[in-house]
Point group: C2
Chain length 504, copies 2
């Protein structure tokens, strides 16, 4: 990757000055069009060798363009806020919205490379990290982000000269610490890791661009020109109306036997037994959340289900057992303007709970493969890739120690009709029933297919779906509470197990 960059590059001052003016105008224009179109966002990753001009380049971009629409973020040690969420949370919260430019110093690629160079992870683990990064970046590109990845390179000699020069100058001496010299001494190790890494994370849509860092003017022109050309190309492109459908269809069972039709939705549970059980399980849940071991966990519960299946009631039976400071309920409706300007999963990442906290999602990221699929709010390609993206998303939560509990509340079509009619009769419940609910009802069969595909494709060992027979609300609520308590207990025991193993 570094063959061209290792050459001795140089741009004369006169030539630079001549081009700089035009470049600035072009970049400002492009930035203006980007904001006016609001069709896509630009994410610039800045990485590479210490002392190769990363900081200077970013400062220059901010000088050349309107800095109010450039969001620069450096990722050093994670804050405590960040440490308490899955690794990528801090990148998601910093993503630029459509129409704007984000600049990330040291994003998701830094840790795997450093850890591999230090020998902390094996070749296979490194390959796994590379696979994760490719999936993340593919997703961002699929969501329309223009992802530009600049790697600033210097030969070992050039790096030495540069660090010495910085040290000599009193104004820049502070920039060279033991950290920089450590990287210098491990130069070969880092190159032997970073070179294959760059190659293997270079895809057609997001190739690494290697920027020779030694000559400041050459470096600045290289980045400036490339950024301008990339912006211009995307801005001037006419949106394509119909893309080829490259996804094959999924299947519908040849005999009408589905997971849902196989459920016995009418489960017995009388009011008296319910009251007793409710007290038991709410008490259990309350105790679990106050258990000291809970401080190292977090819980994400997802409620999906037919309209009027009793999601709200079930959620209230959970929150009724909890201290208001320990949970947050998140109702997912049509996305806000801010959310529409971001990749699909952004609106959910932002609500992930800290350790010791519970997030209860009333509808969720499964909208992608349910309502968006059925109503055609997104293309088939979008919801088809959604399954994998959702599994990656939940996988990241689980790896971080989040307990993910997902409920599908199922009622029969006739029970739904009964409830709709009842809701229309009772004045204070009338707000709960809309024309849309009636329309959804007409699509019962299509939704059923989507639900079964969803469970088949996203029920994982670590984040399984629980189907809840909900014609009897009382039964459903108890099943939800029991399942939730069970999942938290399992997680706590696993933790205990880990600790015991370490001790023993």
């Amino acid at each position: 990757m570094f063959e061209s960059a290792d050459l001795r590059h140089h741009v004369a001052k006169v030539a630079y000055k001549r081009e700089e003016t035009a470049l600035r105008e072009g970049l400002l224009d492009a930035q203006f069009d980007l904001a006016a179109q609001r069709r896509f966002s630009v994410l610039i990753l800045i990485a590479g060798v210490e002392g190769a001009g990363k900081g200077e380049t970013v400062n220059l971009l901010n000088e050349w363009m309107d800095p109010r629409r450039i969001h620069t973020r450096a990722f050093f040690q994670p804050t405590d806020e960040e440490r308490e969420r899955p690794d990528h949370w801090r990148f998601w919260r910093a993503l630029p919205p459509k129409g704007e430019i984000g600049v990330f110093f040291g994003a998701w690629h830094t840790m795997p490379m450093v850890r591999r160079a230090m020998g902390e992870i094996s070749d296979a683990e490194f390959a796994q990290a590379i696979g994760d990064i490719r999936r993340l970046e593919t997703m961002l590109c699929d969501e329309g982000v223009l992802l530009l990845k600049y790697w600033f390179h210097m030969s070992k000699d050039q790096q030495k000269k540069r660090l010495k020069a910085l040290e000599k100058n009193p104004a820049t001496r502070w920039r060279v610490t033991e950290h920089e010299w450590t990287f210098y001494r491990k130069y070969e190790q880092f190159v032997s890791v970073s070179e294959p890494f760059l190659r293997e994370t270079s895809t057609g849509e997001a190739p690494w661009i290697v920027v020779p860092g030694a000559d400041a003017r050459f470096r600045s022109l290289t980045v400036g020109r490339h950024l301008l050309a990339s912006l211009r190309e995307r801005l001037d492109q006419k949106p394509v109306k119909t893309l080829p459908d490259k996804t094959p269809p999924l299947i519908v069972p040849a005999d009408k036997v589905t997971m849902l039709s196989a459920l016995d939705l009418d489960q017995p549970l009388g009011r008296d037994d319910y009251e007793k059980e409710l007290e038991t399980w709410q008490g259990r849940l309350n105790a679990l959340v106050r258990d000291p071991r809970f401080k190292t966990l977090s819980v994400v519960t997802v409620f999906e289900g037919n309209d009027s299946a009793g999601k709200g009631g079930a959620i209230r039976r959970i929150t009724g057992a909890l201290d208001a400071r320990s949970y947050q309920t998140v109702s997912i409706a049509a996305p806000t303007e801010e959310e529409r300007a971001q990749p699909y999963l952004w609106r959910f990442w932002r609500h992930l709970p800290r350790r010791g906290q519970i997030a209860i999602f009333d509808r969720s990221w499964y909208g992608r493969v349910l309502v968006e699929r059925v109503e055609g709010f997104c293309s088939e390609a979008d919801w088809m890739r959604g399954y994998g993206e959702i599994n990656d998303f939940e996988g990241a939560m689980v790896r971080h120690g989040t307990v993910v509990v997902k409920f599908w509340l199922a009622i029969s079509k006739s029970e739904q009709l009964r409830r709709f009619k009842q809701r229309e009769k009772v004045a204070f419940k009338r707000f709960k029933i809309t024309d849309e609910d009636w329309r959804n009802r007409d699509k019962w069969g299509v939704y059923e297919t989507a639900i079964c595909d969803m469970v088949d494709r996203t029920s994982t060992a670590a984040a399984p779906w629980t189907l809840v027979e909900a014609n009897n609300k009382l039964f459903a609520r108890i099943k939800v509470l029991k399942t939730l308590c069970g999942a938290i207990e399992d997680a706590m025991e696993c933790q205990g197990g880990k600790k015991r193993r370490k001790k023993g």
Copy 2:
């Protein structure tokens, strides 16, 4: 993945008979259109639990459709022909051409799953294999293959019943061996590996379709319907003319300093010294190839270079040192009709050498990122993904023990002019110079950019590019021979090292 498949599915005989006729007609029609259009090929992967009806289904498909255009291949233990090439060679050689259908029993997914279930590879290595598979399948889909992946599933109980029934019947008893019962006993292990595997190798373009295998009629209808719907969808789609360009541009150096311009193309070497050196190095090469250690290696050399740079002459100095039975030269020109009906890399996979053999490619897979890029024979997206695909391709060779040696023969523009004119003068060399050569010459600068991008993006530690200064043909030939001998020696020493380590 198996939630829906674990349900008890059943289709009655009458319903089946009624649908079967229509299905057969539909499938035959689709197959006919597929052959008439010749726009894409269909690759069906058949996998899953033993006894779940994989073989029956494939036989049925051959019965329903025209078997002359279905190419069924079962991959058991590799043959010796296959073992002597990189793992995936046997899959490439069996790929169906455009217009036809290939059926693979147990393709690239089998080994990683079995080895993980047997505990032979770690979680990280399994993840790495999954990443490799995703890349391979993405490439096939990008090349226009309709990839349909059917997983035949059965519960453990169903499997037991099925195996017992087969054993009881004298006509099918032979099908149940210890092998099948071993898999039965390890059922849980296989499910715990295959379920996440299916999920993680399900992409939007190539999702696994889980087929419940217990009921023969249900199973047959499921596959038949899905295959028909998938074929029909793709066949009826109008080809899209312009796709959105989602690839950012690459860079051109801001100072005209390139790897090529930095070379000193005129290297001294007189005729007398040349003759001596030639004898030395040809002798060395000959001895290396007859070395017993060479039997476990294979060599792939790639010759690329400017027109008239002397590729042919350099190749003849190699072959002159070799026994004709030990090498094959492969001249790459415009693809044949057979080659055009296959994914791009197919035409090169087919020529990979057996162990103990040398393949010399006069031009190669680098055509994708050179002539096809410059002349616009493929889209930008195609050549941009080419770099990664080529690295994967060569990586597979290197992992298999192939020595990959790549030469770029570089001459100056003025030297080329001299040679062109000379060729036009000499009658027996006149065939070597065409109008196309003159046209290519006009694009010197564009080619230079493409060459530098190629070297930057595909020169790996295991398969590096060697730039050969070739204004002096004699020098170039010796450098080529030296480099080739050095690479073979290095590979032999590595091997020796391995053996020594094993002994010690």
